[in-house]
Symmetry: C2
Subunit: 213 residues, 2 copies
């Protein structure tokens, strides 16, 4: 991080006297997210983002106060929407199997809508969550694990899921199978998010081996 930060004047937090339009911000964040996802956060220079947006590097700072802020907004906006969906599912009082099905389906829908943000999250969250500013990533991950692991345990107790598997391994298995899809998924492909979810669930729940009838 170059340039010396201005020592944080006491009662004068840096509040620029300008008011960028939220719509333009969203536009810029979307292109920034694409570049971040494609090249990786660290390999992405603000000049590349500016290029993709058709402007010069310095101009970005009219809308955002740092490159890190852009990343922050991208990730937190995504997580907020994600949890809106998840919380709705978890509050619906479904059985374990139905909850898993709903969570997986919801996840693929989020991948469809926030492909770039998901890809960034996957690549960078582990290193970012060490930073205090991105601690909410850890919080989210804990909540995430609680929701999925809890559902799996409920399922084992209800004899809906197999009891002979390491539950933690199962959790990671299900979680990863879903979210890595963001690395190859392209919206507008031949499968809709719901169709992908259906097939994934079929594989995860019943396996890919042919059952002797």
């Amino acid at each position: 991080m170059p340039t010396n930060k201005p020592a944080a004047q006491p009662a004068a937090k840096k509040k620029p006297q300008v008011t960028p339009s939220p719509e333009r911000r969203r536009e810029l964040l979307d292109t920034a997210a694409e570049v971040f996802a494609a090249q990786g956060y660290n390999a992405t220079t603000v000049r590349k983002i500016a290029d993709a947006a058709g402007m010069l590097a310095g101009s970005l700072y009219y809308h955002f106060d740092s490159k890190e802020s852009m990343l922050d907004e991208i990730l937190s906006a995504f997580l907020t929407e994600l949890w809106d969906g998840y919380d709705a599912v978890l509050a619906a009082g479904l059985g374990p199997r139905e909850t898993i099905e709903a969570l997986v389906t919801e996840s693929f829908r989020e991948i469809d809508r926030h492909r770039a943000a998901v890809a960034i999250y996957q690549k960078e969250s582990r290193t970012l969550s060490a930073q205090p500013r991105f601690h909410y990533l850890s919080d989210s991950q804990v909540k995430f694990e609680k929701a999925w692991l809890g559902t799996l345990e409920r399922g084992v107790a209800a004899q809906v899921f197999r009891a002979d598997l390491d539950i933690r391994l199962t959790y990671r298995f299900v979680r990863d199978t879903v979210w890595v899809a963001a690395s190859w998924y392209r919206p507008g492909g031949q499968h809709s998010p719901d169709e992908i979810a259906r097939q994934y669930l079929s594989m995860v729940l019943d396996g890919i081996a042919l059952r002797p009838t």
Copy 2:
């Protein structure tokens, strides 16, 4: 890439008149791989690598001629070993199901031995393979897909695997479930690579849902 490269003198490729020991190179590559895996290639400075190795940045250039060369050696060494294992499996003439089982088991063993290299590969291969120098990553990926997809198709034809699934989706499913494990796997954990492979195979082949007997 800073500094102007010396214009590539015609008959004088840069061949230093020194002979670093291969053992020391391996040591340094191992620590470099750890740092790359932990921080990401781009976020890793040569000074960080040197720190981890207990020396100064410039000293690395006695052993390697660039940061990129280190990455190159790490990845190509890993892929060479990986394909040694895979080729042996593929040449064994096993049935489709047994081939998949052997490939998955072999993969987890590779993850156990080359955890850092696998993590780097996962994070960076997509962007790297665009560079001519790392084209072998694409080649490997093509060969990889051919081996796995071919085995799955054989299995469907032999009525060992389900025919009602999109085979391409299945391929990505199996591939991803295996390799993302590198992101959380730590050697010396409570499960051996073979045990993890066993449970993973059980999930992938038979599913996590409890079957009514």
